[in-house]
């Protein structure tokens, strides 16, 4: 009956998207009149009982050193075993890099219907229907999950991580058979000190209007002040002005931060597709006819090279930095 939430970690730290997944799973458990149980694979540095504040009462942990390396095949087998041990009927993942790799496998393993990229709690009044993002953010679809066991992957930033309890979660060590992995991890390269784009609350993004890579200093300064991640339009990544992983849009990363600041980006339909789920959009563009203004909440028609430095000064004042 219960709802099982996969708690994803990186270097022993629970990912923000997983806190959202826990909050979602906990709300869903209330809706289904059952319990929300978390699942952690491998070892973590974090205070697991404290995750109880997001609504999980229990956390199952399979603390096998082999699980400190991610392998979708091995993880699937372990999660399937735990699902069966605790008799979970709904399994919730974050729709992030790991969720996207495990959930489809688990769907086959358990013959459980999967909806990926959910944006709201299921409607359980008549069957089990989940709303997901489709057409790269341009529409939603309501998907019925027809099996008794179901898997949901939750889009990042579409359900807030909310503190709903003050009871700590009990951590239960859990036994499972861990298969040998067919994948050897050779290296992990992390961009140090930067906010990962997929997890960022604020994103400052630059387009071809910035003329060249040498002009990104002000974008980085603005991002740093706001604790934001940096992003860019496709031609900017294609011209190697910025790294590929910063490319957002229909054929890049789709993001949904609280605040998206687009500077010197025209707002082509393919770009909008990846960013239009952002809660607030600010556009700075010198062309009043730029299509981006139609999708924006706030805008400044002006030259980025004049506007952005002034904006930086104003934000410094707000934040009280010299």
């Amino acid at each position: 009956m219960s709802v099982l939430i996969f708690i994803d970690q990186s270097d022993g730290h629970v990912k923000k998207a997983s806190l959202e997944a826990i909050s979602y799973g906990a709300k869903l458990a209330v809706q289904l009149n059952t319990t929300a149980i978390g699942l952690v694979l491998g070892s973590v540095k974090e205070d697991l009982p404290a995750l109880g504040q997001y609504g999980v009462t229990q956390i199952q942990q399979v603390e096998n050193a082999q699980l400190n390396h991610f392998d979708a095949q091995v993880y699937t087998s372990v999660i399937a075993q735990v699902t069966q041990q605790i008799g979970a009927e709904t399994i919730v993942f974050a729709n992030n890099v790991d969720g996207k790799a495990i959930a489809p496998r688990l769907s086959v393993r358990l013959k459980a219907a999967l909806v990926s990229g959910a944006v709201a709690l299921p409607d359980t009044t008549n069957g089990f229907v989940v709303r997901k993002s489709v057409f790269s953010g341009k529409a939603f679809a309501n998907i019925e999950l027809k099996t008794n066991t179901r898997i949901i992957t939750l889009n990042p930033n579409s359900f807030p991580a909310t503190v709903s309890s003050d009871a700590p979660a009990t951590v239960v060590p859990c036994e499972a058979v861990v298969d040998a992995s067919a994948i050897q991890v050779k290296a992990v390269n992390k961009v140090k000190g930067e906010v990962p784009l997929s997890e960022a609350d604020i994103v400052v993004s630059g387009g071809r209007g910035l003329k060249g890579p040498e002009n990104w200093g002000m974008i980085e300064t603005l991002a740093k002040l706001l604790g934001a991640a940096t992003a860019c339009s496709r031609p900017v990544a294609d011209s190697d002005w910025r790294p590929h992983h910063e490319h957002v849009g229909q054929t890049g990363l789709a993001i949904a931060p609280n605040l998206y600041i687009a500077i010197g980006i025209s707002g082509a339909i393919q770009h909008l597709a990846g960013v239009n789920r952002s809660k607030t959009i600010v556009v700075i563009n010198k062309d009043p006819e730029a299509p981006f203004f139609k999708a924006a909440d706030y805008g400044i028609v002006g030259d980025a090279f004049e506007v952005v430095p002034k904006l930086i000064e104003e934000i410094k004042k707000l934040k009280g930095v010299a």
Partner: protein, 247 residues
Amino acid sequence: MKVLVCISKSPDTTTKIAFSDNNTTFATAGVQWIINPYDEWYALVKAIELKEKDPATVIHLITVGMSDAEPVIRKALALGGDEAFRVNADSKDSFYIASQISEIARQGSYDLIFTGKETIDYNGSSVGGMVAEMLNLPYVALATHFELSGNTSTVTREIEGGEEIVEVNGAVVVSCQKGMAEARIPNMRGIMAARTKPLKVVEPTDAETLTTVINFELPPAKGGVKLVPADNPAELVRLLHEEAKVI
């Protein structure tokens, strides 16, 4: 080396999204169909690059779709690939599609199976992982780089805030995204050659669907932009702080 590349048709990226029949059907009138960009730019082109390095490589393409998917699979053949399969069935849901692809993959015993990271219409990101599980193969999702040496694949995959490099021996399923390869356009020779490349139409195997699309919705329209004069960024900061409460 045998590579199977999964190809989906998807609406052109400029398509205006609209629905008919009481919002139950995607309105396809006037829609231009393209090869799903992730399948084309990254999965297919990567396979072609492998063949350019080792001409003994055989590339098969597969799509699950009705006859209206043929122009798209022909276009894929014009870019590269030796032959194609079209499983003659509606692409009902990810589980159904993956069941069809796995069936063909079992018969062909492929060393590598490439998919795009997702389709730009359903955004499921599921078919690759499902195929991998059905075939009991390892799966590397969201790959940005791929290198083959003997039967060892070295794959770079995206992780939050960075990348991870992994090695896999033997057959593997990989979902491909930006970084894997550079987009190409088909040339005249490719287009001519595609006409005579085998395109085998096969009937679907019995498979279930686990999901049904009930209906679609369009997001609510935006309220309109609030413009702030260029010489007054302080006002923008105030609005973001006090009104939108985002900074």
